[in-house]
Symmetry: C2
Subunit: 427 residues, 2 copies
Amino acid sequence: MQRLDARDAGFAAAFTALVEARRESDAGVANDVAAIIADVRARGDAALFELTAKFDRIDLATSGIEVSVTEIAAARAQVPAATTAALELAATRIRAFHAAQRPADHDATDAAGVRAGYRWSAVEAAGLYVPGGLASYPSSVLMNAIPAKVAGVERLVMVTPTPAGRLNPLVLVAAELAGVDKVYRIGGAQAVAALAYGTASIAPVDKIVGPGNAWVAEAKRQLYGTVGIDMVAGPSEIVVVSDAKSNPEWVAADLLSQAEHDRTAQSILITDSVQFSEAVEAAVEHQLAALSTEATARASWDAFGAIIIVSDFDAALPLIDRLAPEHIELMVDAPDALFARIRHAGSAFLGRHTPEAAGDYVGGPNHVLPTGRRARFSSGLSVTDFMKRTTFLDCGAAGLAVIGPAAAVLADAEGLPAHANSVRIRL
Amino acid sequence: MQRLDARDAGFAAAFTALVEARRESDAGVANDVAAIIADVRARGDAALFELTAKFDRIDLATSGIEVSVTEIAAARAQVPAATTAALELAATRIRAFHAAQRPADHDATDAAGVRAGYRWSAVEAAGLYVPGGLASYPSSVLMNAIPAKVAGVERLVMVTPTPAGRLNPLVLVAAELAGVDKVYRIGGAQAVAALAYGTASIAPVDKIVGPGNAWVAEAKRQLYGTVGIDMVAGPSEIVVVSDAKSNPEWVAADLLSQAEHDRTAQSILITDSVQFSEAVEAAVEHQLAALSTEATARASWDAFGAIIIVSDFDAALPLIDRLAPEHIELMVDAPDALFARIRHAGSAFLGRHTPEAAGDYVGGPNHVLPTGRRARFSSGLSVTDFMKRTTFLDCGAAGLAVIGPAAAVLADAEGLPAHANSVRIRL
């Protein structure tokens, strides 16, 4: 963890280094991924089954590629009732929040008599990638699948690797609650390629979303354009802005909730009190000792954690906008007033009683958010990510008489005579 | 041009070949572009100036990198009044259409007492790439720049290569009309890299939009994630759906307006009348002979043009959705009824008096549209492409008491104890 004080002489340079520190690993998997994609595209199921046998040690010909209704029922029976109830509450709340995001169509005729507008429609088929093993989170299933279903996606399929055949029952229950139509036991770049191009077993989809390891991320990047993808996702991060009135134990808990995600996660406290920051630092230390995720959380906090002291919260604003954090907590007396002045952030958690973890699960807003300063230009996942807008124009003879001549003049000016002709021939 | 008849035995295979035919060139410039980006990132202006001297044969140290007020005034004086008036009409109409797209914020408190919503804000700085030479279109400047300004982008800069120093006055006038803040005489991958990382002369931007050659497209692709980009754009295409009541000359003119763009553009007619299709084909031939863009238009029509005969327009619908065309004209008696049943298209032109070229310039809707079947999952450029949404959550003590326990249960189930702790410590 590093301490910075905005009042110090060397602060600007140290803060720039903090902003620009690269936390993303260049796994150098581009060539391997390109080969896998080409193989699945060319050989379909044959390649998909071979790669799955190699990486996940399962024989899809025996197990079946699709997770069966029986397996899903078994998963349901395995999950404790309290957990299922919590997933149901989460699903209900996420669905309600996202339903309010459905965009409106537009259709208007102007003074020239020209009618124009746009119509929204859903992506027909979408694929959701769910990592296997440790990072297999049912909450992510809900956060990715529910907006797709609210958008009206007809065919929503999920892919997840099942190393040595192991399936996470929570993930299956979440998929069922969210309305996922089919679950396939495949993963890695080969699963992404199968979703993009289709094979005999898997129909192609139009959009692929969901987190994954470096191979999955690279496959999505390479297939961007062939299908839609959600976004480039990097390690998670939080900025907690707190005055000295907050409970330092609460702030420490929030910083650690980020740090436990992975070793490259980043937790930053910005406060106007040196004394408070010291209390938080001490709380982090003693909470760390009690965590089963201590090794990860400590590695993240040691390498990327930061405490920044500011003279007042006005001075924090430009720092926050430079960081454009994925998550920002505002643990101050008037969080709305501060939030109104923040320009770049993925999601904000207002007041002392809104831990980011509440939003990770049951708040309602999506937890798939832009990382690594991408909140400067991008947004969290939403219903419109599973929709597209078709614009339309209807000039009519009268409208074309008004606006057509200008179109022809511009076509002439651009050296496009057939464009001009297509207008003038109707005038 | 190829003729297909949906009633023929071999149609399905031939149509699939048409849909999947690759019209995009793999220029294989990835390594060169990566080297340019690395060079500009490392050496800033020194690299940018050297590369500009090499590719555009101009010395930026002499000319200045920024296009001056004097040069813009000279451009204004050079453009005929009728062209300026047409650009002004276009700008006014594009601005009006896009102003209606500004999204609304959301802020609501639910039955649990939890407040959640989102707030839209503009990207702070955006860069617009404008190709030099033949593809230097003032209409594209308007279509890219106006949505950015409507969104509220504070700093909108334009880059355009000026081979041997030549500037297109129309482009400068369009930039001024659209509210572009600065114009830089740089182009290619080096200009995109300079916009993404910044140099001593050019402040970095958050989003880069606009068309470009293979080098520019590849640079945008490689920098996607460092900055936002608009989309992967391929060759342009149109599908004209027409019954036999349309004037075949009008249809031919529209097909050629697409074909003249470039040799890989694609024009497809879908009609229910063989006789009409023959009249259109003849009209294409004789109109071609009169075009100054004949060579390009003929190459496109010969290689990629198609006429598809269907028994009725119901049979056209699945074909249209497979093609998911950038542009679709519906020259039929009840275009709205047909449009309502089309699922995937970038932009629709309704009725016999709406040539696509009207929409290219003065209709109002954006002409930057998804190509190459990408209308299945993406939309034309809009105001929201220059904005981002920050969600927020405010549980309050009472709200957290209601939803917090479920969050903690899910955190436990996911094996994330610090997440659970950050909630339970407040309960």
